[in-house]
Subunit: 247 residues, 6 copies
């Protein structure tokens, strides 16, 4: 059975990452994964939250996630109007923060807090994994800015990290679900993996369904293939900055 | 005295309006006025708020305004995190809504509600006036969509509308203030004007200062010049759709 | 055509300002403009908001605005019950604050914060302009209190300031709209002007309508006439305190 | 020992109730008890809350209580700014509502909801009891309005109700505490009583102190004396309307 | 007429207090009064709220009250979902705090803040009085913990305190109302009394009814009887700790 | 290396599930997993949320999760006081809901909504997985109640479901982490599995660390072992009700 957009089951959607899309932010990218578009900005502030300072374990990195009201097929109520972030947003931004912290040497980051804002301009499935893949590039640029300006001696990034989704749709195991696939998927799994091929997150969910051990293994294989390609793309996009990562 | 970016006192910043930047929305544009960038989407819904239905005066049009956290030089706290829209946002979105309603034949709009979302991607002064100028184009596209789909007989738009700012900066009267000018302006005036040269809004404010009747007249002249150019540009951007407006 | 209450087009409603209506506040008035009644209190506190202190530009003056639930024809939900101030209140209190700051020498105010609370007891149109006109008198009393108590050497007030509304109602240009006029006005303009005849704010709005340059000029003339009378009345009400203003 | 304002221990402060202070509300009074001033308005609406309708037990009566920010010696933060009513306000408005419902024949009130808004303009102790005493008069006026307009056959008021405070201050038992007494009282008791001499509420509280059975009895005696005078005054103020109550 | 559960009018429900039900809290009990079950924990923190520190009157003690959503017959919306504590909860937790402070020597408590959390696991009437009776035991344990650990020289508890409800149900005066009685009671009175037989709180309310002086006296008698039994039980439950109270 | 409480790496903590701990709820249990204690209640309501009704896919099942303020070592601020549920709570209750829906035949549930409330009385790690394991039993009891009362023909439960955590602690892979283990774990994985051995959720997270494919497989093996034991225990606790599940 053919996929909605004619892709093979193990094929990613086209990915484009455009750097420096915001003149104010220390790092910024627009990432497009098929029709999903997310602006990721990295803000550097020379301050630490009180609790983090007290821990004495170095800098901090956190993320926030939002969607423009008409990023989706049906217009959503603005979070600011509802008076709070919805549960899904909070869950996603916690995931993005954990993913990027896993490859960052916070001790080496010193007194800096980095805030990654991931704002979905247009959604077509996979916004959280696109956010992670794009935010990594914005983060690298922001840290490179600190190095260039003599604030840090070297890049406190230990590895690359990227993410994609895999799932079971109509009984088929597929890579990088678009919205029409996601909305009917029996199983949905978001995977975050490092350049070294280690997992940072595996979030597999049966939607009123369940999945076997064997399917789990095949889905992890698919994700592994996809994320390796995404990280290759991050490297090519980052150019010389890529060379400073993991050393 | 020369302006920050070398413009003449009566010169607008470069304006670019790109249509159809969002695949979901019935109308959508990215408007760039110098370094100020706003995404404006128009959402059509076949429903009316209860109070409007009760009035029996036709359709409704409303606007919402937001800024991405890092659209500004210093990262702002996300409204959704603060738990409410700030006063400035509410004030601006009320202005945008009034401006666009002034040229819309709501009676002819029937049972439809149009929501204009103006989200600032990058701010460099004049975000509210850029929002109005851009949202008009998104609105025209959304209404044209209703006509094309046989939902409306004709475009319920009676005229064009656009906006710009004028002000007194270091004693000079200037058109279309960028952020560095805006932040030191003694007088700041936002003007909304129709294609017919009539005002919809005049919002002039002395910032710990005041202004004379004569200055008021010169500022209105400057604004008149600028808005006529903006409306010419809206016409060229809208192409054939422009021909259906005001007829 | 005669106005709802028999006034001429260029005639203000009767205005009464009663000073010292609150035994706790450093300045307090009840202002009645026709059937609109607003209690304005000025609170002096010897402290500054952190951001203002950091600026090092002297004292601060801010305003808050509220309406009693049954100040209007239909009872409104209490802001405290809704959990937030509505957009209109926020917009009005920002206006009041700007208006009063425009005639106050904040540098000379030193370490003091003045808070003007304008609470509408009964509304019949023009509550924001009545608030400004009344709050100025409460402010003058509070500053005089600081002078009398040796906290300030002289009154840090550079001029008088008052406000009124003008508008187009059924095609006629009129001064000081009451509620029945305001609710059907095609054009509504709030003007804040100093004793020296300079504008601090011009906020003109077409309600699903627009207005010409010529109408703008006539409306500004009407407002000028009205505000000069209001400032004369402020002077007579303030008596000896008036003599210390602008010197 | 003499009281702060020279009163005898069993003496009320001067009470003035002014009717019809608000042109919009169906009933409205300004009650002054010494320097405590409260505006009480009664709003009639021909609707019932859903839960009350479901009960089928007739109309409904509810109360809301607020304080202007500078009604007190120190300016308080506006509830609307804090984003919620504080616990004390909620507790007081529940008390006012219960007090007035105790003398109202809700069954006879039919499909109407009465909302009593008690807004403290100036506070000097006893704002909750003044609110009850004043709100009763506003309620009577609002119900009389319903009778006059043929909406109700007779006044659905079964008795008068009024309230005062008593307490132990420096070991002395006193009636009607002003703020300076209230703030140092060891025991504070608010009593609500009907014209028939029955209690509706007894709320006695030891503030880091306790009180004996004998003191309880003496305090109830003091309150009985005071409330009988308050009800006499309500009768004189209500004039002919008073004759329709309890029949 | 027999009571719902066969008790005599002056009979308490069975009371069971189980100490040390929480391994984290410095004091904790489960109190069961008939089918009403409340977990009370006492938390000791070596810090003071800023305002209390400024007063220089010693330590602080505060209470919070909550109900699990299905503690009641009909599931209630979770306060955290509604976004605020309801008025009833706030009123009750203020009562609990006052009751316990009345027997605590705050001066002797030094730099400590004690927080009593009373969470209703199952409700069947009398949750606020059960909370007070149980919280006292948790408080005693927490203070004893401070003494045992050398943080305090002696127990800063001057007396015992407990609470119960009394009321008029179908014309009969009864002690310790269960929910079916409470929901039809004409009069409902919550009494807090010390071991010395002095009142800390008397909160009597007529629910769309009123009550006489004579009934008041009989109700206070009933409460006195009940609370003396509750305090005897507290003593037996506290064992050796009881011996350190009031000395 | 020995575990904190002397368990083997593949050993669960002692589990006790007590049914019918709440007299109001249609299903209720107290689940204790070591020192973690959670009250789970299942509430049956004969109504559907509007959006679910519109879908026409049968009944609905949702979950809410909360922690008592002193369920943890340090007292937490009450969610109701903070004014919102925190992100972690929202994330957990979404997980609980998905887990239970995966084994429920919602179509067969008809017009009923089931709400599972999981309130943590005492926390010592694994509160979310204990909630799922306990809530399943409460759910079974509530559904059995519907069958017994003739509201449903048969139990709409297709299988059992339970959950546990696994993780890497000091380099060792262990089952069912207690708090002291959880707080230092390099990898933390929560697994939800059905009686048929299929996964419903795999949520594996590296805390500033990552994990290999081989570790993933070993962790899934550990979880499989633990959850099979938990489901055996659920069966024994449910007795005859267990026989109606999955048929």
């Amino acid at each position: 059975m053919e996929r909605a957009d004619g892709r093979k089951n193990n094929q990613l959607r086209p990915v484009i990452i455009t750097r420096n899309v915001n003149k104010h932010a220390e790092g910024s990218v627009l990432i497009e994964v098929g029709d999903t578009k997310v602006i990721c900005t990295a803000t550097v502030e020379e301050r630490l939250p009180g609790w983090r300072k007290a821990e004495g374990k170095g800098g901090w990195l956190t993320a926030e996630y939002g969607m423009l009201p008409r990023s989706t097929g049906q217009r959503m109520m603005r979070d600011a109007v509802r008076g709070k972030q919805n549960g899904r947003s909070l869950e996603i931004q916690r995931l993005i923060g954990r993913a990027l912290r896993s490859v960052t040497d916070l001790q080496a980051l010193g007194e800096y807090t980095i805030t990654l804002d991931c704002d979905v301009i247009q959604a077509d499935g996979g916004t959280r994994t696109a956010s992670i893949t794009g935010a990594f590039v914005a983060l690298a640029d922001a840290l490179y800015y600190l190095v260039l300006n003599g604030k840090l001696d070297k890049m406190p990034l230990q590895d690359f990290v990227a993410a994609t989704s895999v799932g079971r749709v109509n009984g088929e195991l597929v890579l990088d679900l678009c919205y029409t696939e996601d909305s009917v998927a029996e199983v949905d799994m978001n995977i975050v993996m490092t350049g070294g091929g280690h997992f940072v997150e595996i979030q597999g969910t049966g939607e009123e369904a369940s999945f076997s051990r064997s399917e789990t293994n095949q889905l992890l294989d698919l994700a592994d293939t996809g994320i390796r390609q995404l990280i290759e793309y991050q490297k090519s996009v980052l150019g010389t900055v890529a060379g400073c990562i993991g050393n």
